[in-house]
Amino acid sequence: MRMNDFDAIDLLKKKVGVPFHCRFENERCVELDLASQDYIFRGLVRHRTQSEKAEILCVIAGLTSLQRLNLRSNMFHSIPDYFGNLAQLRYLDLSSNHLGKVPLWIHEIENLEHLNLSANDIGELPPFLSKFHNLKTLRLHKNTFRYYPDDYGVFAKLELLNLYSSRLKRIPPVIFDYSKLRVLAWGVTPIADLSADIGRLQELECLMLQCNCLTVLPDALCELRRLKSVFLLQNRLKELPKEIGNLENLEHVTLYQNELGSLPASFENLKNLRRLNLAWNRFEELPPVMMGLPKLEWFGFFYNPVRGGMPRLNHIKEVILEK
């Protein structure tokens, strides 16, 4: 006879041994988090033995009405196939569990909207994930796959995609079809240029492209009027697009560790900029446009070969001239 959800959670409380989040609807458990921001190692059963973890997973698999499940950072190594019982899941976080592959049972889920499989040494992305047409967030960063399936072009509702530190050699063109994308994270790859197709991501608010080999940015970047944050640190940029000032909503720009020696005059139009990091570049003087950014609160400028003195920057709350 199947255990009811209240009894299952009571049993889980004994086995986990520390408080965790769960939520019920109509006597069924619909949310369960075995990771907590309050616990410094995140995963609440991370340091349990594998047999204790197996017992815990067995209880969870009986909660067949779960819609949200967070098992982050618990070093489970594998999640058994009977998790296919959890077909109602909308949100699934299996990040940092040393899984080695995408669990096949995920295919049994009917309508996933949020999936986090980051930091799991995943070497291959299976085509079956393309069944999730309603995916809104997909986090696949810090894995080892070298190919992003073309089938994933069906993610028309995707709002967040994190592919930071994979082994992809180029940004898959299919990503530029994600017209609803608000956050795109990519980094630690050898890409030297960015396709002008980036301009098609008109909803983009946050673009993270750190630690690549970018030498130039396409003018099309300046068409992304909703951008608020741009992270381009640790590339090889020698100049920025002339019309960068079109991005009037920008609040946070990081260009740390590039090869910039000047900024375009239009930079002065970034009147909403609050944080700007120009450290470790090739500026020999403070860019004159710096004096005309009224909302700037934080400015990093160390490790630049500045000749002579620096003008006072009293209008900026925090100026970092030395690391």
């Binding site: 410094i40 190692f41 995140r42 340091h47 982050r72 950072s73 990040s95 940092s96 980051s118 930091a119 810090k142 630690v188 993270m208 750190q210 630690c211 992270f231 640190l233 640790q234 990081t254 740390y256 560790q257 990091n277 450290a279 470790w280 990093g300 490790y303 030395e322 690391k323």
Partner: protein, 105 residues
């Protein structure tokens, strides 16, 4: 371990804000009374420029604060990718030396 006055931690960050596994095991087992001891942390990640508070440092510092240790100098995030920030490391070591000298005078 009790014979030492100062503990220096150098650690990369792995995964999603996690420690290297051997370091994690060390930290979990490290239960020394640090109330009369100092520590300093150098994080070997790739963080400066987009995060103020960084992975390994955050975990180690949290643990040492619980053990009532005193931080001798502020932590360093030494970028290691693509360029190693030796200059920052040298400067940080200089600060450590200064503080140690002060402590023994």
């Amino acid at each position: 371990m009790d014979q030492y006055e100062l503990f220096l931690f150098f650690s990369p960050t792995y995964g999603n804000e996690e420690l290297q596994q051997d370091m994690e095991k060390f930290i979990i087992d490290f239960k020394l009374d640090m109330s009369r001891k100092y520590y300093a942390i150098c994080e070997l990640g790739n963080y400066y420029g987009y995060e103020a508070d960084f992975g390994a440092m955050k975990i180690i510092r949290h643990h040492l604060e619980k053990l009532r240790g005193k931080e001798l100098v502020g932590p360093l995030s030494m970028d290691s990718l693509p360029k190693k920030d030796w200059k920052a490391l040298a400067s940080w070591c200089g600060k450590l030396n200064d503080r140690l000298r002060d402590a023994h005078e």
